[in-house]
Symmetry: C2
Subunit: 417 residues, 2 copies
């Protein structure tokens, strides 16, 4: 079936899921979870074929690990669906309401977006997570996963569709789009009027390509070039802990720190403590001349940093670092190189914290906390479909409300102007 046909089916199914009761949607989510439990064998068999093909094609160990499913991983995917069932239904929430001077009753309510397209890479758990969130928010979803996970995704989607049918909703609420060619991505990007929003999740080049070529509205997610700025008044113990946590705890994710900025006034005290701790945690530092000098004094080799280092989302145990003369220089550096994801300041100065919060333009600004907290789970949203780095519609972790639009409902008794 062509993507256009699939999108047409998705639009047809959209009314049924948009007007479905919470209990029907939750029943579908639980049936989807049950199906994953009872039919885990099908998913594992399909996944084994994907893994074998991946090995043969020379996929890296890291990518193979992201692709691999196990009974425990499938349990956790199913548990995720049950958790989504437990979240409040965003549809129908009244956001704004009043009686106008002429007696008209105005309500602004949350409604589903309609048809959501998600373009994502290797990990097959995204298939169920994204489908679950879309269903709960009353949307139908077109899933365009990676070709390397095609068999795993097909097995998962077959089970999800059966679960939806059990709850009396149309199976076409969840559809897997052909992943064998780039063509299907192009078709999704042209399906204006059928697809209401596209969410690309993956590497910077995928996201850039979708943003530049799609005539369907896009929500950008994920590229994080996050900074930690250690101010002259910082508590240095807190700064050490935050920098290490932000860089080392999980370097491969978008809310990990990629750059460290240190105020010159405390650099001489801070760097001789920070640089060895980073080295002991396996971090390679790429620094400006002041950082290189501090490293040399401590007997630690620092790579000289280029502009490219400051621009890079390493997603590895690398860290760009610079000593700056002032908070102004720190803010200017972040303005130049930041990706608008998460920026952190470590400071004891209320004035510095306020300036940083006001002047840094990012989805999330942390004061004395690790960049790693920018996450739907950590923020208490229950689940997330990604972290938006754009300004329109959704910014930061996107939960269920971000998968809805709004509608004004105006009730009168024959009112005319």
């Amino acid at each position: 079936m062509s993507v256009l046909e699939q999108a047409t089916r998705a639009k047809l199914a959209a009314t049924a899921i948009a007007t479905a009761s919470r209990s029907a949607k939750d029943a579908a989510l639980c049936a989807m979870a049950d199906g994953l439990h009872t039919r885990a064998g099908e998913v594992l068999a399909a996944n084994a074929k994907d893994l074998a093909a991946g090995k043969e094609a020379g996929m890296s160990e890291a990518l193979l690990d992201r692709l691999a499913l196990s009974p425990a991983r499938i349990d956790s995917i199913a548990a995720g669906l049950r958790k989504i069932a437990g979240l409040p239904d965003p549809v129908g929430e009244v956001i704004r309401g009043s009686t106008l001077p002429n007696g008209l009753q105005l309500r602004q309510i949350r409604v589903p977006l309609g048809v959501v397209g998600i373009i994502y890479e290797a990990r097959p758990n995204v298939t169920a997570d994204a489908a679950g969130l879309c269903i709960k928010a009353g949307n139908t979803v077109l899933l365009r996963g990676s070709s390397t996970a095609a068999r795993s995704n097909a097995a998962i989607v077959a089970i999800l569709r059966d679960g939806i049918t059990v709850a009396g909703l149309p199976a076409d609420c969840v559809q897997l789009v052909d992943a064998s060619s780039r063509e299907s991505v192009t078709e999704l990007m042209r399906a204006r009027g059928l697809v209401d929003v596209l969410v690309p999740r993956g590497g910077a080049s995928l996201i850039r390509s979708v943003v530049e070529n799609s005539i369907v509205p896009v929500i950008e997610t994920g590229v994080g070039n996050c900074h930690v700025y250690v101010d002259e008044t910082a508590d240095l113990d807190a700064a050490m802990a935050i920098v290490l946590n932000a860089k080392v705890q999980r370097p491969s994710v978008c809310n990990a720190a990629e750059s460290l900025l240190v105020h010159r006034a405390i650099a001489e005290e801070f760097l001789p403590r920070m640089l060895p701790a980073l080295r002991d945690n396996g971090v390679t530092v790429h620094g400006n001349p002041a950082v290189v000098a501090a490293g040399a004094a401590a007997g630690i080799r620092i790579e000289p940093a280029t502009a490219e280092d400051y621009e890079t989302e390493y997603l590895s145990l690398d860290l760009a670092a610079a000593v700056v003369d002032s908070i102004d220089e720190a803010i200017a550096h972040i303005r130049r190189y930041g990706s608008g994801h998460t920026e952190a300041i470590v400071t004891e100065s209320v004035t510095a914290a306020n300036r940083f919060v006001a002047e840094v333009d990012a989805a999330a600004v942390m004061v004395n906390a690790s960049t790693r907290f920018t996450d739907g789970e950590e923020f208490g949203f229950g689940a997330e479909i990604g972290i938006s780095t754009q300004k329109l519609h959704a910014r930061g972790p996107m939960g269920l409300p971000e998968l809805t639009a709004t509608k004004y409902v105006v009730t009168g008794s024959g009112h005319v102007r």
Copy 2:
């Protein structure tokens, strides 16, 4: 100066206006209004030149009227700026806030979008309105008006920039973009990273072109193919009044009705009253066979309607009409032809009203009220920058909050994961 240079200046000025106090922004708005009063002569002189050039180029009377300024119109533009000064400041509003289980303090606050680009047609009052709303919401603005209003817009923008300077804010918060070629529109659409959002206001073809070609995020405004559906249980007096108001009161605007749908069960009673009233108000009806027959019986000529009629936003005293067999057929018709702006039902049935509200996918749904109420002023928002017909970010009348983004501010005391 190139558009890219102007956008760079706008981005540089953005921090100053983003962090400006409400009193500074309101002072700028009042100084802008004062300037328009005291220097109205400059604006009128420039406008006279635009009008003369327009006449020479053979512009229609309607367009010349939209272009024409008078002392009274300038007063009203200035009053609009003062009114915006009186509205609450959206910037800094806390939308969501909580203390997380680990003690982190989470706040989601409204922040300015940054640099807003507005592409609009003839009317020079939009220049001041749009600039005023952007300034109040802490944004800088690039105004790309019509070449036919270039002199008027330049005179207005010169005064607005002086007003901004009086309040100690950078003049580059408001800049007029060259309107002499399409090139400047293209440059705005490519200025990703400098311009945060583009708002096209004008005809369907302008909006379509911007949506399809811009890599800067776009908020679509304005195309309204609005329907009034008269249900079988409608109060026919209310239905008559609503249809006439929706079609006739101001046919040239996007919230005017373009189509009438009548349930077959009341068509025989309703159309013999409705069709003469429409004729008496100068409306040409384009109907399906049942409407044509009802017209013939009443001695009123009805044009046979084509699919094109149902698709057209007439913006004139024309009305497409159809008798439908059921509310399902009405909803299906609206789903096929509607533009997602405003749809109205006239009914005494709670069940029918609920179905219509739930199943019609539009920015605003009216129950027993005229489509003409979809308007920022009527909704009590104080002022509007347009009516969004898209689902993401803003849907329906866009006031000051819709000119903002949000930012998460997370405050800890050395928190790490």
